[in-house]
């Protein structure tokens, strides 16, 4: 091996070691600054407080397309066949428990099926403003909906889907609020 190639080899090893050390330090620092969120799981009707607002899941039902249209007079899923889609509707209570006016967006979250990993954002159903402003002591009921498509879930999980299998996750940090739909 020539002297030059030996120098290049040593230089390459030196740079590689420096690179690995820099990488390890950077990864350690970023993960120390942002540790995993603490999961806080709440049962049906159990209130959880966050930033002056209290959230609680009140009810969850799973409907087929026809029943959803009949019950809520909402036709946004009318184009789908009944065996293709299931519609999840959950009722969420949001209450201001602070002494200040609270501005909140209750649908900063996703419906989640832990067993399969299926998840989808909740869409507000009703004519309420998506950004709610609640005075101290005031509360509001919000109806959130999502559609579970057959193609986005295992057939077995789709057929047996039950409100107890689902959670509503309010994606906050450093606490992660998980509202279950069973007691």
């Amino acid at each position: 091996m020539s002297k030059m190639s030996k120098i290049f080899k040593i230089l390459f090893i030196f740079l590689a070691v420096v690179g690995v050390v820099v990488w390890v330090v950077a990864v350690y620092k970023i993960n120390k600054a942002f540790p995993n969120a603490q999961k806080e799981v709440y049962a049906l009707n159990e209130p959880c407080e966050y930033h002056g607002a209290e959230f609680s899941s009140q009810q969850c039902e799973i409907l087929n397309g026809k029943d959803f249209i009949l019950k809520y007079k909402d036709t946004k899923y009318a184009d789908y066949d009944d065996d293709e889609i299931k519609i999840v509707v959950c009722k969420l209570k949001v209450k201001n428990v602070s002494d200040k006016t609270v501005k909140i967006t209750p649908y900063v979250g996703r419906f989640y099926h832990e067993e399969s990993g299926w998840n989808n954002a909740g869409t507000i159903i009703s004519d309420k403003d998506t950004k709610m402003i609640l005075n101290p002591g005031e509360f509001s009921m919000v109806k959130l909906t999502t559609a579970v498509h057959k193609s986005s879930m295992d057939e077995k999980n789709f057929e047996t889907l039950d409100p107890g299998d689902l959670s509503f996750i309010i994606q906050t940090y450093p606490e992660l609020l998980i509202l279950d739909f069973d007691e």
């Binding site: 990488w23 950077a26 990864v27 970023i30 993960n31 600054a33 942002f34 540790p35 995993n36 969120a37 966050y50 930033h51 609270v102 501005k103 909140i104 967006t105 900063v108 979250g109 996703r110 419906f111 989640y112 099926h113 832990e114 067993e115 399969s116 990993g117 299926w118 998840n119 954002a121 950004k131 193609s151 986005s152 879930m153 295992d154 999980n157 996750i169 309010i170 994606q171 906050t172 940090y173 450093p174 992660l176």
Partner: protein, 268 residues
């Protein structure tokens, strides 16, 4: 065998094809990192009407974690990138007479086997290296928080059952899956070196097969389309069938070469 393997590996890694292939893949990975990831690094925490929403995390920001034009471009040219390093070497060796020289000294079987091994290793490396590099670089800027309700990964994605519980294990399996994809399809041009006399056609063989399969699977079973299954968030439920197809391609190609070697034929 060891000697010929070493020699083939040296030829492959010192060739222009390998360097060009690695450079193209790396350029895409770095472009996504510097254009998409770096500007986002200062906005990890996002305030949304008074609430701190879940931080942007490594698994949803890196190149493979979300659908972008970079990823689409990378997976579109991947079947060409895996052939570039050494996929055409047998054709070239036959044409130049190099293969004849080698086979007078080494068993044809060993020579072809060495070609298969080197092609697989390089094909897999070329396929996985840019993704791995991008993932490791992104890991320095974004925390590896457990993904929660990732908008890209639905319940029908290949790894959705383990992604939310064991994200790092999922990434390891995903990188292995991409490596195997590159490795298995890279052997294909070797097997067809004797049948196809057109260099361009040979170099595009995995690309053509890849997209032909994707076209056919649209009518038969979409969950096995090669250009679909590579995405970590693709809605593919048939991982088993995908692996079977990959194995059939690789073993079929290997068997074709061994049959030729047994017959004592030159692949010319």
């Amino acid at each position: 065998m060891k000697k010929i393997l070493k020699l083939e590996m040296y030829r492959a890694t010192h060739g222009l094809g390998f360097i060009v292939s690695m450079l193209i893949g790396t350029a895409i990975a770095l472009a996504q990192f510097f254009i998409d990831v770096v500007p986002m690094a200062g906005k990890i925490l996002f305030r949304y009407t008074g609430m701190l929403t879940y931080p942007k995390n490594l698994y949803s920001v890196w190149l493979g974690g979300n659908f972008s034009n970079y990823l689409l471009a990378y997976f579109t040219i991947l079947p060409i990138l895996i052939v570039l390093p050494y996929g055409l070497s047998l054709y070239m060796d036959n044409k130049s007479g190099y293969a004849k020289n080698v086979i007078t000294r080494v068993e044809a079987k060993k020579y072809y086997r060495a070609k298969c091994i080197v092609n697989s290793l390089l094909g897999g490396t070329v396929a996985v290296f840019p993704l791995l590099l991008n993932f490791l670089l992104t890991a320095t800027l974004f925390p590896a928080l457990n993904p929660i309700g990732d908008q890209y990964l639905s319940g029908n994605s290949i790894f959705s059952h383990i992604y939310y519980k064991y994200p790092i294990l999922t990434m390891i399996l995903y990188f292995l899956f991409i490596f195997l994809h590159g490795a298995f399809y890279a052997v294909l041009p070797l097997a067809f070196s004797s049948l196809l006399r057109n260099l361009l056609l040979l170099s595009l063989l995995p690309f053509i097969m890849w997209y032909l399969m994707s076209f056919v699977s649209r009518y038969l079973n979409e969950s096995i389309a090669p250009n679909n299954v590579l995405f970590i968030f693709s809605r593919c439920t048939d991982l088993f069938l995908t692996i079977v197809i990959m194995l059939v391609v690789a073993i079929g190609s290997y068997a074709m070469l061994m049959l030729k070697a047994k017959k004592g034929d030159m692949i010319v």
